[in-house]
Symmetry: C2
Subunit: 200 residues, 2 copies
């Protein structure tokens, strides 16, 4: 079976439509998808950026917000600009990682919906706990597990792997042969690549 990894950052604007689309796109093509939350902050810091490039470079930022409006309108996804942008995504990423693989996609979509559709703060337990309950997970034990050393270390390792793979941003699809496809607009291309190369 063809396989691919979906790399996403909860603070990343283009990861929102990508997270909403990628599950169905992979299922249609019968590609097994592993969801990999990671943190862009350490990767950006390595390039000298201490903030989102969309804030550091306002021309790119203005373009991105208009582009995202058009993308979300075409997909029928509500869009509310998070304030502040980017949101602190550390807690959400730790929670997503601490969850069982099978629950991660639904929780991740719920976080993106809260953040980019409803404009709610994703660093607040008051936002995150109900999202866990919504997918049938008892919030308290998971909130505790998320901040244990083992889980923190795992998120650091996953972020280090994202850097080692050369991810230039989020979202990305990666394939077992080491190819990287960056952007919401490359999901289809990445999945087709995974299929073509699994068939060999």
């Amino acid at each position: 079976m063809a396989r691919a990894e979906f790399w996403y950052e909860f603070a990343s604007s283009y990861s929102y439509p990508a997270a909403m689309r990628v599950g169905a796109l992979a299922a249609e093509r019968d590609v097994a998808l592993v969801w990999r939350p990671f943190l862009l902050g350490p990767l950006f810091a390595g390039q000298g950026w201490r903030d989102s490039p969309f804030n550091l470079y306002p021309v790119k930022g203005r373009y991105m917000w208009r582009d995202l409006e058009r993308i979300c309108a075409a997909l029928g996804l509500p869009l509310t600009r998070p304030d502040p942008f980017p949101q602190n995504s550390l807690h959400a990423a730790r929670l997503a990682l601490a969850l069982d693989d099978s629950l991660r996609p639904a929780f991740s979509r719920a976080v993106y919906r809260a953040e980019f559709a409803e404009g709610r703060p994703i660093d607040a337990p008051a936002t995150l706990a109900p999202l866990l309950a919504e997918i049938g997970v008892d919030p308290e034990p998971l909130l505790a597990r998320a901040v244990e050393d083992a889980n923190k270390t795992e998120l650091k390792a996953q972020t280090a792997r994202a850097a080692a793979l050369g991810l230039p941003g989020a979202p990305c699809l990666t394939t077992p042969d080491g190819e990287v496809f960056w952007g919401n607009d490359r999901l289809e291309q990445g999945l087709e690549w995974a299929l073509a190369h699994a068939a060999r």
Copy 2:
């Protein structure tokens, strides 16, 4: 008739496949296309970049070259990495602008082919003069006209207009209602937008 403007920079890597594709894409949809060469240097300088962001940020650069390899392979376009990258595109841009509108697309494609397919220096008259001859233009008078003040001023004005439109890079398609579509991978979307909005 629907209208759109195609903004391109001869030094820009993604402008190569875009320039090779956009004419046919616009013709298929019956969108009237104006080709607008401009210079990214002044726009990048405004964001604090004195070199291509693909050189300043090597992670993005490595991704871009691999991405471009895949794109060119899929389109059947040869790809040779220009050395140095980016090329000095000033002469080529002035020549393209000095040409009659009807000759600009063919000349521009010829420049991209020399640069990105054959790896030839596009700041050299020895490269550029034969490309003019190839499209039926007497090189000497045009090489002279390209460096007249009127033409230099027009290129500056066109570059200033690119900045005023908020172009974050090249290539871009713009539509009469002020929308900007950035990237080789947005040509179809921009042309469809032009069509939909001309029909209103």
